[in-house]
Every structure is written in structure tokens, then in C-alpha cells.
Symmetry: C2
Subunit: 595 residues, 2 copies
Amino acid sequence: MAHRLAALVAHFSAPPTSAQDKPHIHDLNPAYFLPRAALIEPSAPAILHRDRSGATITRSYRELADRARKISVFLAKRYPPGTKIGIFASNTPMFLECLYGIAGSGLIQASFNYRLSATEIRDVLEISGVSVVFVDYEFLEILDTAMNSLKTPIEVIVDLDSADPTYLRKFRASGRTNATHNEIIQSLANDETPLDSLHYEDQDEDNVLALAFTSGTTGKPKAVEYTHRGMYLAAMANIIEAELNGSSTGCRYLWTLPMFHAGGWSFPYAVTAVRGLHICLRRIDYGLVWQYLSAGPGKAVTHYNAAPTVNIQICEHPSARKVPEPVMVTVAASPPSPALFQKMVSLNLRPIHVYGLTETYGPISRGYILSEWALESEEQRFRKMARQGHGFLTSRRVRVVKQKEEYSNDPTSLIDVIPNGSEIGEIIFQGNICMKGYHNDKDATSKVWAGGWLHSGDLAVVHPDGAIEILDRGKDIIISGGENISSVAVENVLQSHPAVLEAAVVGVPDEKYGERPKAFIILRSDWKNGDSQTVKDSIISLARSRLGSFQVPRDIKFENELPKTSTGKIKKKELRDAERVKSSAQKLTVRTAGA
Amino acid sequence: MAHRLAALVAHFSAPPTSAQDKPHIHDLNPAYFLPRAALIEPSAPAILHRDRSGATITRSYRELADRARKISVFLAKRYPPGTKIGIFASNTPMFLECLYGIAGSGLIQASFNYRLSATEIRDVLEISGVSVVFVDYEFLEILDTAMNSLKTPIEVIVDLDSADPTYLRKFRASGRTNATHNEIIQSLANDETPLDSLHYEDQDEDNVLALAFTSGTTGKPKAVEYTHRGMYLAAMANIIEAELNGSSTGCRYLWTLPMFHAGGWSFPYAVTAVRGLHICLRRIDYGLVWQYLSAGPGKAVTHYNAAPTVNIQICEHPSARKVPEPVMVTVAASPPSPALFQKMVSLNLRPIHVYGLTETYGPISRGYILSEWALESEEQRFRKMARQGHGFLTSRRVRVVKQKEEYSNDPTSLIDVIPNGSEIGEIIFQGNICMKGYHNDKDATSKVWAGGWLHSGDLAVVHPDGAIEILDRGKDIIISGGENISSVAVENVLQSHPAVLEAAVVGVPDEKYGERPKAFIILRSDWKNGDSQTVKDSIISLARSRLGSFQVPRDIKFENELPKTSTGKIKKKELRDAERVKSSAQKLTVRTAGA
């Protein structure tokens, strides 16, 4: 015990990096927001959660800080600096406790997408090199499978969240699971390590705080390195842009966005900075979302973040009603349609349209609504707001540069496109809210940072007013008869048809034009029983009236569901690949028939 | 001309400090908020001002950025890096143009208190070492006098603000004034140096951005060094605390606080960051303040900053009416009374109570109102909010440490007081929103930073809930019969009497107790004609009911005015000194009589 205590004291006694020679500088650290919140307003509610049994759990900031502190002490006793600690859970209290607990221990946090397959999970465990994983009971089984093919053993700590403890028996038998999350906290019931002595303020701000994984729709996922400085300045920008500080009855943030996704866009820190309430949500249950949105004055949700597809479901839900107090909704992940913004505003859900990548801590630009548009039509204003706009307050200016065959390391090779709304280029970023690099992957890092700018792979134009607008995410652009077609532009038009709930447009192989656009559409429920050809004709007729003829999809397929990523981005690659397979099969049939 | 252009190109071509090796870091620079605002929303109104002729001047962000850019080009042509440029003006458009113009040229800005005497002005000119001063025509004469005794000549650039140009003749004759502010801008009408090429983003963030002067109520003023990083993070905190981002119709900020004072508490940058409107105000004209407060939807002031004394005048003005939309008011400079907060709230002026020093870019702590106080009385809640509370989001924790006879450089000698609401100590600060040091004054710098913490000289307690509360600014504490009396606590009680508009309490010499409290009171106008002894008795009777007998002032003096600093802080030293002189004179008389 004595040597453990000594090790603990040594672990926590590193002097602040700069306090001695430059006391006017302290290293930026977003995890400090938790002990600060607990100091200012210990009784303020920090967490609201329904556990597996359906019971409501609430935790104050004092409790959250105390539980996180115990995780820090536990980890600091066992693991040397630099150790990586995994989190594999949906949006639960444990996730937040671990985020802060790991930061307080000075170690590095890595959180995983719980929708991955066992093989992919093995990949992210290997790439991140975690020594421990905090796992929610829901994902214990798949984690166990994934670990079977790992060389290095990993310690597993389970959060039962009131699930049946006998569930653990077989995993305990395998020797991988020694303790539950709650047992660890209970074992430190009498621990009184002061909050001040944890590593909430003494890290070099350029150290790695966390690893997040690129969604990896193609190839192996990459681990993105987030620094303390970057997460801090991303949180500052998100507080300001989402107005987390602006609600007179306090901020109540609903966790519709997965916490693992791009560091939860810095919101685990941003919400805590304003001493807001984290309303946890294991998965998006739209009925429950509306219960939280309708909980009444001083209780209802004030803020949430979600992709357009999630917002469509929220707006279309039978419980949807105009909420009395405005709710600020940060919308990102894929380009939204102006029609969605109109619908949201009619329900008093005020969209804040942002854009970013996992590599930019989530949001890094915003489509602002400008007062000078006051005289334009609402549709026109929302169309402009649906653009990706301008860099965040804490970002450098976002640029769009001419595309090159090959990336060059010469910064002068990056030539801005003409701001005419038509010259297409690639969006690039630089500065504080860009990742440090890909973990243990120098080649990928130097490639994505070619010329000292972070290459998004997204194609955009710059409008004469200076706002950028994405034409398409990377490979989603359709090249038909040598013309570029923005799938997003076509989707926006389809989306404005009253029958259309969601639309995805991809390029499918075409003998004559190389590619042509094809639309996959989910109809609103009240349109599903109509004559499908009549509905198709009506949609195509609308498209013809608003688009050039080469942009109009000739093929429309009605679907009940579209394949999506964990954040609700439509997996267009999957749609495209399926079409390619069909097309090859057809060709083969034709050839065989003709042979 | 050619060599000038070459010099200009050289001046502006320094590569960004960190872009090459660490492209994920860019140096924090608050001046960048201007070109960003001009890029996003060029037509948004940036400045509203009434010039000397009474005409209304408005400038858009495009115009402000353009005029500032021309100042940058002008300065960069003439002065080498490191040159200091002075601003000597009240809250006018020129001040803002110069703040950004100087930052864009990469030079250092120093702004001066326009209420100083000619001798004091000479001092601040010497201490700052400015080569140029931008001066408002109002202060040209006193500046001219101050410069007579200077060894090094200083170039003077005058802003006429529509004043009579013939006014300049005699100063031009002296050779000191070659051009007006507008002439310089006009001379660069055809200049097209791109905004991007100015020094808005390429400074080392720890470089000095500006010098501000301590109010210097005692001894010579000292020049406080502000860095880019510090001003940036101070601005972030002020945006969040004052909710500059929270107004749905945009931020319209009224410049009641002098821009020269403690860097305008970072608001020249914070307001620009949210693309707010700077409503300039040469001096506080309460009628005009109410015109701006009552200008109607989308036009009325949404935010202002002011000391308690200024807020008292605003609340008491005949035009005072409850405003329809809440106005956020950052209140600081001296400890406010709970009664003032109640009055403000009744007018829908929502106080944000902050505390800080010139050495901390203005505000560094805030008296938060907590939701857990909901069941307490309004008076009780405002009493708690009137405390100095907790460190800002971007500050380290504010500490109160036991007082020492001598400051030590050993950080372990700084022992926190017990948080019992009674043990008195000194407030100390550390971290990003503390000044770098006193310009060219190593001794004063190392003294104030003793032990690596910035010593405020202010005395405070820490309450059991963790909030700090100032008992008194430095020397204002009264020591009577060995007991400490907080002048602020006594003032708060006096202020709650309906007759009292303003109260100042100082220690006056007392044969028996060393010191005893004496009150200087301004009565509300409707009480001025009453019997003054009856009013005094009533005030003293209230004080007796709320204070220990040793704290009750036996002497009350009614005044029509109290001596104040430029920010509205009452100059207690002046009141104290006058009493001391009187007392010595009396003693002398007594002795003479008895001799």
C-alpha cells in the first residue's frame, strides 16, 4: 500500500509546465472545466440518465467530479504516463466520468464506435493501443469476441448500469474482467485525493488528450489525435456558436450525438464549462426525445446536436409540437436541405448549421444567417444558411483551393479558387481546431497535412460573398458526360417535394455518360400508399423545373430505409457499390446472352 | 516610392510562427476578429457615433476593416517592429480604428487616460516610450503642454471628428502635427494591401499587444503589458459571461466604459468577435444613454459595462424606464451593493457582477447567481451575487492567501485562508488572463508576481461555499480598536437606506481607536430638502440595526459629489487624505492652544 501511495504522489506531483517562468501563461486544458464547475456550483445537476431498469439517475457536479476523481486515482495508481484508456459505450454517465477521469489521471483517452463489427473493433483496439477498456454491458460480448484475436491482453472494466450482475460471470471466468466501474469507485470511497492535485491543469497543452476514429467507410479507420489546446478552443467556439451560455434557466443538453463521435464535437467539455446538464441517451428514441423536449419550463432540453437525417425524424415524429422556448440545434454531418431548416424553425428548433470533420474536432465552420438578408425570402435565407459558410471564431480562415493530381508539400502550390460560386476546389483547414495528426501513422499524417494545410477531401465552391459551399463529400460527386453534378444540390431539390422524407443521390454506371444520377427516396408515410409511378413522375417533374436536364435523375427507387453511419450520415458508398455490382452482373448477362 | 513598397512587403512578409512545423497550432490573436467579421458580414454595422457636430456616423465592418488596414499600412511604412503607438482619445471611432490598425501593423499600442494632468500625461508618454500619438482634438492642447517637457519628440496625428480644422493651425506651426487621422486614411485611398497580409495572425501569441496604465491613484502609473494570447482568452471569457453572443437580434454594445481603461476589458475585441455594433460615447451623458437604451426593437442597446456609481446614475435618471428586452450589464470597478442590483433588475438591466484589475485585463472573476439559491429571498441572492465569486472560465482558480509582512518568492509560502467567511487574506491570480508584467520595470514585476502569483493587494475572505468576497480594496480597510472594518460592508448597509444615493466610507484618525469609520453620502434629490439631522439619525439607526457598534459611522457628511476615477471608482484615498490633513490641523490647533 505504501509504495502505491508513493507512486500516486509521484504521479500527481509534476509541476505545472509554465507556472515558474511564465506565470501569466497556463496550459489550456478543457478537463479543468469539471473541477471548476464543482467548485462554483456543486449541487447543480450534471447528469440525467435512465438506466437499464428504467430508473432515473441524476448526478450533481459534486458527484460527477468525485466519481471522475476516483477513476483518476485508480488509473494513476496502475498505469504509467502515456497509457491509453479506451471507452466503449453509448451516451451514459460512465462515458462522462471516464472522459474526465482519464484526463485527471494524465492518461490518454480513446473512444470507439459501438456500431463497428468485431473485426473492426479489433482494428481500433490495435491502432489505439489501449491497455484498458471501460465498456458498457451492452457491448461486452462483441468486445470479448474482438479481443480473442488480439495479441496483447487488455483489461476490461464493465459498467452494468443496473444490468443483471450474473451477466458478468462468464467474462469474469475468462479472467478479462476483474471489476465493474461502480466497484472501482466504491473501492475508493474513503479516498480524499484533492481535486486540485489531479492533472487537470498541468499538462503541456499540445499533449494528446484523446484519440477519435475516422468513420472508416473506406479502408481501415485512422486514430485522430486531439490535443488539450485544440479541444479547449473547439469547446470555446461551440459554446459561443451554439449559445450554450445564453439560456436564462441554464443549459440542458440532450446527447443525441454519440459521445464517441469526433470527441462529441467538444460538447462533453463545452456543456460542463457552462455548468449545463448532460441528458444522456443510450440511443435515439424519438418518443423519449420529445418527452425531454416537452418537459416544461426550466426542465426542457435547451440544446442538442444532430445530423439532418436525425432532425428529419425528430420533426416528423407524431409527438412533434412547437416548443415554447427556442431550442438551439447544432446541425452537421451532411449538408442539410433548406426545407429541413424551415420545418425545424416552425417547431422553434433553431438550427445552427456547422460543418467539419473528425479531423477538426467536429464543427469548424458555420453557415451564418446574416441580418443583411432580412428582405430576402425565408427559403432564400435558409438556402444560404445551408452553405458551409465561414471558419469558426477559433479557427483560421477556411480555404478552398484548386485541385491537384498530387498533393505537394509546397504551400505556394495551394491556389485559392476564384470566389465566383462555380470554380470547384478542395476545402482545407489550418490552426488550433485541427487534429495534431493520425496516431502512429506518419505517412497518412504528412499526406493529409500536405503543404501545411489539412486536406478535407471535400469539394466546394466559394461564393462571391465569401461563403463556402460543399458540392459533395469526396467521392460523392457525380461526373456525367464530363459535367460535375453535386449530389447534394439534386437532393435539396428532391427534398423540397412534399412526398419526400429523405433523399440520397449517387452516380450509377452509364454506358453513354459514364455516370448518371440515381435517387433513393424514403417517402413520407402519408404518400406511401399512392400510385408509385404517379409520385415518381411528380418528383421528376419538380426536378426538371429546378435543375439542368443532365442533373435530373431518371431512376428513382423508393426505399423504407437508407444505410447510415452512427451519426446519421447516409452511406452513399454502399448505395453506389450495390449499383455497380448490379451493373456488372447485367453486363455479364448481356454478354453471355450475346455470346 | 519603390523602396517604401519594398520595405512594406518586407514588413508584412514574416512567415507565420508555427504554420510550418505545427500547422495544427496558430497563434491566438484577438485582432484577427476584425478581418474575420469583415469577411463574414461586410455590410454589418460596426460603429455608431455622434461626431462633434452632432451628426450620426455609422461604419460597416467593411469600412472599419478598411480604415484600420490603412492605418496599418501607414504605420508599417514608417516604423520598425517594436515601436509603440499611443492613443489618446475618448470612445470614438478613431480609437477602434487605431486599436486594430496598430495590431495589423504588428506594432504595440498604448492608450492613455484622458483625465490625467499634463504632468501625468508626460509620465505615461515617457513610461510607454511611444513614437506617435493618435489624439482626439479634445485633448490636443493638454498633450501639447505635456510634450513641452519631453526630451524625445513624438509625432502627433489628430482626429478632428468634424471639429474646426483651423483649430490645428497653431499645432501644425509647432511642427508636431503633420496630418490628421482622416488625411492619412485618404492618402491611402488607392492602397490595396490585402487584409490577409497584415499582422493579424502571425505574431507570437506571447508578444505584447498593448500597454495599459494602472490608474495610479498613488505614485507614478505603471504600464501593464497585455499579450495577444491574454487578450484573446479574456475576450473569450467576456463573450461567454456577458452573453455577447446571446442576443437574437445581434449585439449592440454601448461604450460607457472608457476604451483606454484596462484595454476596455477586452470588449473592443469581444464585441467585434460576435460582429456586434460598437456604439461610441465620448462621455457619459445619461440622457443619451437612455436614448440608446430606448431605441426600440433591433436598435436598442443590448449590452454595456459600468461601475456601480455609473449604474446608480443610470437607474436614477428621470428617463429611466423598464426596458422591454433585457440588457446585460457587466458591473465592476468597485464592490456593488445588493440594493443596486435590485434596482437594476427592476429596469430589466441584468447585472453580471465581475471583479478584476488593470493587471488582469479587467474582469477575471464573477459573482455567479446559482440556481440552488432559488428559494432564498431576492435580497439574499443579490447579496451573494455581490461577492467576487469565482475565477473566469479562462482563468486559473482565484486564491485568497494569508497575508505576509513581506512577499516571498517561495510559492509554498502562499497558504490559502480557511474558507470560513472570516479569515482575511490577499487575493492572488495566475495564468492566461494575467498581465505579462510591468513594462520596463523588472522590480515592480517581480514584486507583484512574488511566488509566481499575481498579488492584487485586495483583501478578501473565502466563504464556506467557495466564493470569495472582497472586504476592501488595498488600503481601504479600516482598523478600529484592533478590529478590521470592511468599508464595503458598511457602505452596503448605508446604501439600503431609501435616502442614500451613494455612500463612501473611509477610516479617519481617532485618538482612542486609531481609526473610526466616517461616511460621505450623496442623498437622493427628494431627500435633500429634509432636516439633515433627522436624516442622519435615521441612517445611523438603520446602521445600528445591521452592524456591530464599532462598525457604525458616527460621522456622516452629506456631499453633492464624490471624487471619482475615470471608471467611476470612488477615490477613497482623496477623502481619507483630506480628513488626515484636517485632523493634523486640529491636533496642531489643540497643541498650540494647550502650549
